[in-house]
């Protein structure tokens, strides 16, 4: 059985009399350890797909089964617990917390974990070293470059050893050289067994992935 199974996934947004069909019956299976990129033009439904995969956007129809758990059968708070234990997010604009240092940002997912302080600090330090920022743990986000902020965001996403790392346009705000470095980092993480699902509109990023899923008008093509 695949790590992620998406079947007949539909997501409609209703606004007044208008209905936007963001996803119109998507079926995808992703195996553990795969590096998947999801490509598509603006409005193709790729970001909606990622938010549904991330347990944050209830589908109109269809199912998302992840590590044997039907995501949307879980209640709101159980779904939050599932995200905390199984998913890691990397956002396009990094979304680091401005008043927390790099170390504190990385420790954020562990704030609600039942771990001792030393363990949390150890895990955060290790994650920061994996992304090459072991020497900048005490910097605030505004004291880091864009690439470094992206690395902190990646360290934050992997600190709780998630089953799946979800990334939304992680190179969207970076120059080409930094983008290559960040994509190389995702590749390295994937080579250690990390499942990665990445939404991107940059075709060059697809060369790092095992497989690319093309979306068009809310359907896989």
């Amino acid at each position: 059985m695949a790590l992620i199974e998406i079947s007949n996934l539909k997501k409609y947004y209703v606004s007044g009399d208008d209905t936007v069909e963001a996803l119109r019956g998507v079926d995808i299976a992703i195996e553990a350890g795969e590096f998947i990129t999801i490509m598509g033009q603006s409005g193709s439904g790729k970001s909606t797909l990622l938010s549904v995969l991330g347990g944050m956007n209830h589908p109109t129809e269809g199912e998302v089964e992840m590590a044997g758990v039907k995501l949307y059968d879980l209640s709101g708070e159980k779904l939050a617990d599932f995200r905390a234990g199984n998913l890691g997010f990397v956002f396009q604009s990094f979304h680091l917390i401005p008043y927390l240092t790099a170390m504190e940002n990385v420790m954020l997912p562990l704030a609600i974990a039942n771990m001792k302080g030393a363990q949390k600090r150890g895990a955060a330090k290790e994650a920061l070293e994996r992304v090459g920022l072991g020497n900048k743990v005490d910097r605030l986000p505004n004291q880091l470059s864009g690439g470094e902020q992206e690395r902190v965001a990646i360290a934050r996403a992997i600190v709780n050893s998630p089953h799946i790392l979800l990334a939304d346009e992680p190179t969207g705000n970076l120059d080409s050289k930094t983008s290559e470095e960040v994509m190389g980092l995702f590749r390295e993480l994937n080579q250690t067994g990390q499942t990665v699902v990445m939404v991107t509109h940059n075709a060059e990023n697809c060369q790092y992935a095992d497989r690319t899923i093309q979306l068009k008008d809310g359907m896989v093509v």
Partner: protein
Amino acid sequence: MKLHNISINNLRRRKAKMAFLTIGLMVGIATIVTLVTLTKSMSSDIERKMDEFGANILITPQSNDLSMSYGGISLGGVTFDQREIREEDLAKITSIKNNKNISTVSPKVLGGVRVAEKDILLVGVNFDSELKMKQWWQIFGEAPKNEGEVLLGSDAAKALNVMSGDTVEIKGEKFKVAGVLDQTGSQDDALVFAPLMKAQKLLGKEGRITLVEVAALCAGCPIGDMVVQIAEKLPEAKVSAIQQVVESRLHALDQFSRFSYGVAAVVVFIGALIVFVTMMGSVNERTTEIGVFRAIGFRRSHIMRIILLEAVLVSLLAGLLGYASGMGAAKLTLPIMAEGKNAVLIWDSTVAFGSIALALVVGVLASLYPALHASKMDPTEALRAL
């Protein structure tokens, strides 16, 4: 890293916002502390001043006989020399449970005498306590200092045609008029005041007292209780509260307190609004941040705890600073408000703990809706990018 670290770091590194929030609530708390402390201190000052305006408990002998009027107050059996209070009973008055509320005890002996062919009421008083109780008395001359001196009311002096320094003869004894009272508009104008022991001798009432006036401090005004307690100690006497005085004191204090608490309530409301608006603004500003928290698995209760903990910390600080600055303001204002240097600032631990508790209650209640609003944010909407 725990949830409280997020709250603390947010407050530490967003100093301007934290300062605004703290000052908003602090001003409210400081105003309340100032008003409450001023009210308490001024009430105490007013009580002290009002106690100078005379007696509020009257002890007279039990009698069913015709009464004699004393400034509109009925003095049972005075005229007929019945069951008068004994001098040794005076000690019993000061042994009641509420004896701390007794400011002055002024015993009196009354009796009619004939002076220069005129019937006049002679009142034997202890001049120390009488003068303390009747501080409005203006004396031309001096208060009597020895048994050979008397004090005359203005009408009595006119009737007898004497001035301070003159001599009057009472029951064959000559007395120097030490002083004459300026017109008071009361029964005092028609009286001749002599030292208590001398008057007792002149009237043949040694060791006996006709009536006792008691000035009670009005802290909490337990006049009713005191009347009962004195009546228990002196079953032979009739103890009554001079209701007019008691009620006017209570009314004055009550009005002042009500005004202060009314102002305080408005200020608390404004403080709560400041906290509410600032917290709501802060939550809206932190939409993305809250979205991130939710995305990485924070429960709604976790978000509420972060926001409410910030409210608790800010409120606690505002409470402490508000108390300190409120007391400082009260100390500076009291001499102006109390119109005198005798008013004493009252340091009350209830006000200290109360102001901190109030800051916490107002801060947390005003933050409850913003916290709830934050916890209900849709992470997808909050992040928009997803």
